[in-house]
């Protein structure tokens, strides 16, 4: 780069900072902006975060309701529910869900929860909300692209929603959409137009993730306020940073996989197809490899589980430190382990493919790399435990959900060590043991991280508190329910009970679990009802919740609490504050907490 270019871009950087301050100058007017510019096509990162959150909540209700529907089939295979026929029409005759509908429900449950709720709803919400507020920026690097990111997600949501209502039903070949089932329209009813809509929706989703991720990365690197060095950033921001890096590097590979899948479906190609018979007739496709798709899919698919869980880890680190009134234990080790997880995430994808005929020699390396992830994960767990150790814990709902996260992350993580061994995986692959493992470690944990974040930052979002009593009920029933649902599944899986079956009562080996399945389904319904209680709490509190009267209700050190209770676009009415210390000065030198904006005193040492 020539010297002159350096000078130009230098001016540009300064120019943009100055521009930002200008932007704030006319903020007063923006409060009177039209409904459309304030609530719909908003470029304020705080509003976009709320849009992501509420869209995510809508999807979470739908996705969780689907699980209630298929749990009815699994828990009560002989009982007729006439109301099912009323809402599902010909997809449920005589009060029984048809097999086709059952597969559609499990597929959409997975797709919705993994991508639309725990990716867009979790990192979309909190990356958007917290990055500018916690690094001290007026908004994202590109507010316009940020807005586009939400609207691409919205269109992806519309397409996915539409696929639920087409005549042949939505995609039903599992959330992984393996070919040949997903590549051949004649293979199943769910492989027809529903599959095309699924691919289209997911492609739009990838665009949304890319626009968001590029913004998160460049905001964190470029827009930090004065004094906010990388090691003065809260762990939330580090977690969002690595999440965005994972997304920007892994989603494009999924997109490539989808492009090839689309050609296989419609252009007569054989990328994934070879030697196939459909309805007794041999297809002409030759030379392709269905395993190729699995490689492409899991190159995203594995980083994806960290895209889901890293933001939760960041949120939990922050909420636990604040509510223990103690500095986070091992700040640098926390960053280092996030980094290690981010790297390893790209090197373990084939552990999803141990039984595909993968060369056992190659499998050995994937076993090794997979088990290595236990190291940074354990570092994080010990650091959370030592953070709350002998802390003066405020058991707010946010803190409880954070502790719940640590609990489920340990329980689910330990079973990951079992599954990461290729020889054990031969027995456990595609059983309920896998279901139990990833639901606890990724599903429940990520949800707990998300709930912790919502309870903790709700006052910043809406200027009101969520109801605490409802929060405690929500936490305890969800925690107990999660274990009651998924703990028994480990035993079913060890006994070899395969996932994705429609009816276990016809199998001699699995009849013994009828009672257990019955029990699980009843708990599912109770937990689902409790989540509706949370949804009620959420929307009720937006309008009627206890009002926030002070700007910093949790006595936290980070920058978002230095903004006014109802911060306008631009976040700070005056200058963006300067940062002088790390974000975890709790109970230091006998002081409860010292905000990041307070300079280091003359007789004070840096943490």
């Amino acid at each position: 780069m020539s010297n002159e270019a350096t000078l130009h871009s230098h001016q540009e950087v300064h120019g943009s900072l100055e521009h930002d301050q200008h932007g704030n100058g006319h903020d007063g007017h923006e409060h009177h902006g039209t409904f459309i510019s304030k609530y719909v096509f908003s470029m304020d990162h705080k509003m976009i975060a709320k849009q992501f959150l509420i869209t995510g909540i809508v999807w979470a209700i739908i996705g969780a309701f689907f699980s209630v529907l298929f749990r009815l089939q699994l828990g009560f295979p002989d009982t007729s529910f006439p109301w099912l026929s009323s809402i599902l029409g010909h997809w449920a005759e005589n009060g029984h869900i048809k097999p086709e509908a059952y597969y559609a429900l499990v597929t959409m449950h997975g797709t919705i929860l993994v991508f639309f709720v725990l990716t867009a709803g979790l990192s979309g919400t909190f990356s958007n909300f917290l990055i500018p507020l916690q690094v001290g920026a007026r908004d994202m690097a590109s507010p316009f692209m940020n807005m586009l990111s939400y609207w691409f997600f919205f269109i992806a949501s519309l397409v996915m929603m539409a696929s639920l209502f087409v005549q042949t039903g939505p995609a039903s070949g599992g959330w992984t959409a393996y070919p040949p089932l997903s590549a051949l329209g004649d293979a199943s009813i769910g492989s027809k137009i529903g599959m095309d809509l699924w691919i289209t929706s997911m492609a739009l989703f990838v665009v949304s993730q890319l626009l968001g991720g590029l913004n998160y990365i460049s905001t964190i690197l470029n827009m930090r306020t004065k004094g906010m060095s990388m090691t003065k950033m809260p762990l939330t921001i580090w977690a969002f940073f690595f999440t965005a890096v994972l997304g920007v590097l892994s989603f494009p590979v999924l997109l490539s996989g989808f492009i090839l899948l689309l050609f296989d479906r419609h252009a007569g190609t054989s990328f994934y197809l070879s030697d196939i018979f459909v309805a007794g007739k041999a297809l002409s496709n030759e030379g392709g490899s269905a395993i190729l798709y699995q490689h492409l899919f899991w190159f995203l698919g594995h980083p994806e589980v960290y895209i889901i869980v890293l933001p939760a880890m960041g949120i939990v680190s922050e909420v636990l430190a604040i509510n223990s009134r103690k500095p986070i234990f091992g700040y640098l080790a926390m960053i280092g382990s996030l980094f290690a997880i981010c790297i390893l995430a790209f090197l373990v994808w084939a552990h999803h493919m141990f039984v595909t005929g993968l060369n056992p020699f190659l499998g050995a390396f994937f076993v090794l790399l997979t088990l290595l992830i236990a190291v940074p994960s354990a570092i994080k767990v010990f650091n959370w435990l030592t953070t709350i150790w002998r802390g003066n814990i405020n058991f707010t709902p946010g803190a409880l959900f954070s502790i719940g996260f640590v609990s489920t992350f340990i329980s689910g993580g330990l079973t990951g060590i079992w599954l990461g061994n290729s020889s054990i995986d031969i027995h456990l692959h595609d059983t309920y043991f896998v279901i139990a493992h990833f639901h606890i470690v990724m599903g429940v944990s990520a949800f707990f991280g998300m709930f912790a974040g919502i309870y903790h930052w709700f006052p910043k979002m809406y200027g009101r508190f969520l109801n605490n009593t409802l929060g405690y009920i929500h936490f305890w029933i969800t925690l107990c329910g999660a274990y009651l649902i998924f703990w028994p599944m480990h035993y079913e899986g060890l006994a070899g009970m395969p996932r994705r079956y429609y009816d276990y009562s016809t199998w001699e080996s699995f009849k013994q679990f009828a009672g257990l399945n019955h029990f699980i389904s009843i708990v599912v319904i109770m937990v689902f009802a409790t989540q509706l209680l949370f949804v009620f709490n959420f929307f009720y509190s937006i309008f009627k919740g206890r009002k926030l009267t002070i700007a910093n209700p949790w006595k936290a050190t980070t920058l978002e609490w230095t903004t006014p209770i109802h911060a306008g676009h631009g976040n700070w009415p005056g200058e963006v504050p300067e940062v002088h210390r790390w974000p975890y000065d709790y109970s230091k030198d006998g002081v409860d907490f010292i905000p990041q904006t307070v300079p280091i005193g003359p007789n004070e040492s840096e943490h």
Binding site: V135, S218, G287
Partner: protein, 224 residues
């Protein structure tokens, strides 16, 4: 404005861009990294399928035609011309960026226009090649060319060829469109008003990336 940069400046302490670049350029770099993974995945898929096949058509036999040369055997001559055109368009892009540093509007406009011409020429060449192959019976799902060992060729030869060169062509097309938009802005004087020609640099990054990808696509489909 004081632009003196001292060695003591703490670049990572916030308040500045640590790389001394605007967020836009940073985003472009990360986007290109992301896009490299898209192409990487496609090319690795191609390699996987090709190496699991027993034999594969010989590119010297498939790509031997030149417009107007009839049946003359000119292996890889046409694609060499295409590649030359695209690389020359990268050269003109470098010159456009250079003129941008000098804030020479006429110079930027001239070299950007040549870059656009190069891009359109490349796309036209690709269009001719695709049409020619189509007339020979090649398309997605159809491969008229024999393998080197004389066995009937797998349709995945053409499947990957059309998908990946098509995907690259799509990138060139969007690059040409971006270049045209930027050229119009240059002519309007937008960047003179703004005080710098950084947008030219950003589309320049994209354009060089698309050229670089072509080098890999070219190697994988025509040389190997």
């Amino acid at each position: 404005m004081d632009t003196a940069i001292t060695a003591k400046k703490k670049w990572w302490d916030g308040g500045y861009s640590p790389f001394n670049v605007s967020y836009g350029k940073l985003m472009m770099w990360f986007f290109l990294l992301s896009d490299a993974f898209t192409f990487g995945a496609l090319l690795i898929s191609y390699g996987t399928i090709r190496f699991s096949s027993i034999s594969w058509p010989d590119p010297n036999e498939v790509f031997r035609s030149f417009p107007g040369a009839g049946e003359a055997n000119l292996p890889l001559v046409f694609v060499s011309l295409m590649t030359f055109i695209l690389i020359m368009s990268s050269v003109t892009m470098v010159l456009a960026v250079h003129e941008g540093h000098n804030r020479n509007r006429a110079g930027v406009a001239k070299w950007l226009a040549w870059t656009i011409v190069g891009g359109i020429l490349f796309l036209s060449c690709q269009a001719w090649e695709w049409t020619h192959l189509w007339h020979e019976g090649a398309w997605w799902g159809r491969n008229p060319f024999m393998n080197q060992d004389g066995s009937p060729g797998s349709s995945n030869f053409t499947n990957f060829f059309f998908t990946i060169t098509g995907f690259h062509g799509l990138h060139v097309t969007s690059g040409v469109i971006l270049n045209i938009i930027i050229l119009l802005n240059v002519l309007k004087g937008t960047y003179d008003d703004r005080g710098h020609y950084e947008m030219v640099e950003k589309v320049g990054l994209y354009w060089h990336f698309v050229d670089l990808v072509w080098v890999f696509v070219f190697t994988c489909f025509y040389l190997l």
